[in-house]
Symmetry: none
Subunit: 203 residues, 4 copies
């Protein structure tokens, strides 16, 4: 408490420590969320597993909700980061375009499947219905572009509904296939079939 002159590492990496701590906390939270669910993910257990004090956790997250929100946010970011916006030119064969969109979306779901499943399982009751939506935003934009660019749109009385159907089915199928049909995902069979589903529906 008196004169500890040049003892402390100069230029204390406060930010670095903070970041590390946040990382540690989120890792612990993620593992518990995935393994035991949101109800058993108590803040005390998280801090314990993270090897830090519960007080420190509250230094970085004002409440449990914020912790979960950050978990979801991170997952979304990581996921979206893995996605390249699909671009195309109107004269490109539509099959190719669709296949690229589908492939992109499958990859998007493969980033951290465990977390994806856990969040899909736990978040609905937090009123975070838009979380999934946002993840779908990319494919939505791609499909939208496809619509607007191609003369297909004219064919449909209710293009909005068509888009809704495509989005929803592609999303649900991939989500469930990741959990239940891993081999089909890996083999490319899922990609083939989804491409066919969308293509045949659109054309």
């Amino acid at each position: 408490m008196s004169q500890e002159p040049a003892v402390r590492p100069r230029k204390q990496p406060v930010q670095a420590r903070s970041r590390a701590m946040v990382e540690t906390i989120l890792d612990a939270a993620a593992r518990i969320l995935i393994e035991e669910g949101l109800d058993d993910m108590t803040t005390n257990r998280v801090s314990e597993r993270a090897g830090i004090g519960i007080g420190s956790l509250y230094q970085y997250f004002p409440n449990k909700q914020a912790l979960v929100a950050e978990l979801a946010h991170r997952h979304k970011q990581e996921t979206l980061a893995a996605v390249k916006e699909v671009t195309f030119t109107p004269d490109e064969p539509i099959q190719n375009i669709i296949r690229r969109i589908v492939r992109n979306h499958i990859r998007l779901h493969s980033v951290d499947p465990e977390m994806h499943i856990a969040l899909a399982r736990e978040l609905p009751r937090l009123g975070v219905m838009d979380w999934h939506e946002e993840l779908n935003h990319d494919i939505y934009k791609s499909l939208r572009k496809l619509f607007d660019a191609h003369p297909l749109t004219a064919k449909y009385a209710n293009p909005d509904l068509v888009l809704f159907i495509l989005r929803t089915s592609v999303e649900a199928i991939i989500h469930k296939a990741i959990i239940e049909r891993d081999s089909d995902v890996r083999s490319g069979a899922l990609e083939d079939e989804l491409t066919r589903l969308v293509s045949s529906y659109l054309v």
Copy 2:
């Protein structure tokens, strides 16, 4: 004890009261579940909203879990009751068959949409993943029959995956449409598009 002329079934007061109480409890529970979620559906709040003593609730439901289970069970029964197994003859136009299957499934989800949504939101974390599955069983059986009866099957290398895709997409689309696109459901537009989706994919 002998001739009581118009012996109206006397409505055994015991059973009648019991049933009424169970009904009251389940109604209260359902409303809270739908409006506020499973976490806020505490046994005390349910009894309070039902206008009965907490002890009475436990007279009929040994624990909270049993209450939720009965809610889910009821919903499943009511839902399945609304479903007529779709039958058809192989020479019938496939479009018709598919349309009937789709229509049936839409009706199945329209029984008590609020409860359907609430259960879909809350049950996953109770490990009741099979609940949705069971509800889908009917459409699954119909689609399976369609497969087996028609010479379509031969066309697919992986008929199992095709079936999975159809089931999942139809289910997810209807589920979400009920929530988000009520007008399309009512207008029949959803039925049209779904029929088209399945038809074009299968043929």
Copy 3:
């Protein structure tokens, strides 16, 4: 409710029925008390096991406490009924007298050992410390007479303490032997040793 003339058995054995009901209730209570303890002997369980309505139980016993009290009272009565006050003449060999006292007390504890054990286990916390005392009253009186009749008393500076010691030891030994050393009780070995203990101490 109207005219059921000579249907009811004339001279309705109201009292008999009441008695039978009380008996049934006490039997059920006794069994549960012995087998599961006072905490698990809920009034509802008792009425259920007795095959009667809970309301009927409260017709005869104003509260749970009264039920336990009656159980204890009955046991005491049955026990004391099995005891013959030990009488003797001063010129009788003291060994014989002591043996008869001891034998009497052993028999006293053998009446309904299970209930005896159960009550000894459960009653202390109800503040019924005097229950055991009263049961000992008989041996106490016998010993007291022995003291007063024989010239032994003079020998002791504190005859009250001597009596206390005898009462307490005989009681405790028999009580515990009934539970733990059944064979010694039956073989008469306990009687022999207790007689010796008292005799050698007194003379």
Copy 4:
């Protein structure tokens, strides 16, 4: 971190606080147990009387059972700590030996009589029948040694029963005398009489 001159053990605040809290809780629990019994010793009342939050109680005792167990454990430890195993040589006058054993056992019961009484009153129904047994273990060992060392044993057909009788009577007499005959305990009269009881029985 180097030379802090008179580094008084700094009294780790953590441990000190924890200990104090545990002590406070146990004190409150003990008082309620003694004064009102186990049934009225609710966890909330204990925490209230201890002047702490109920949550704090559960920080140190995982459940009510653990609290009672610790109370019993503490009492046993304190009691046993007060006892010096009685040793002797075979040629020592047996009266002396017996007197020392008796005296020892009396002291053993005098440690915290209120708690001793309360535990004896409440523990039986928790199935903790061995608690008293263990406390008696010391006198048992001493008596056993007396038996094995002296040629007395040969005299008895059933030495085991004799030992049982001695143990049970000495234990019961002391236990009850502490409650009912405090003056005799203090005056030494009890010690005298007990010595005489055992001596006359054994020789």
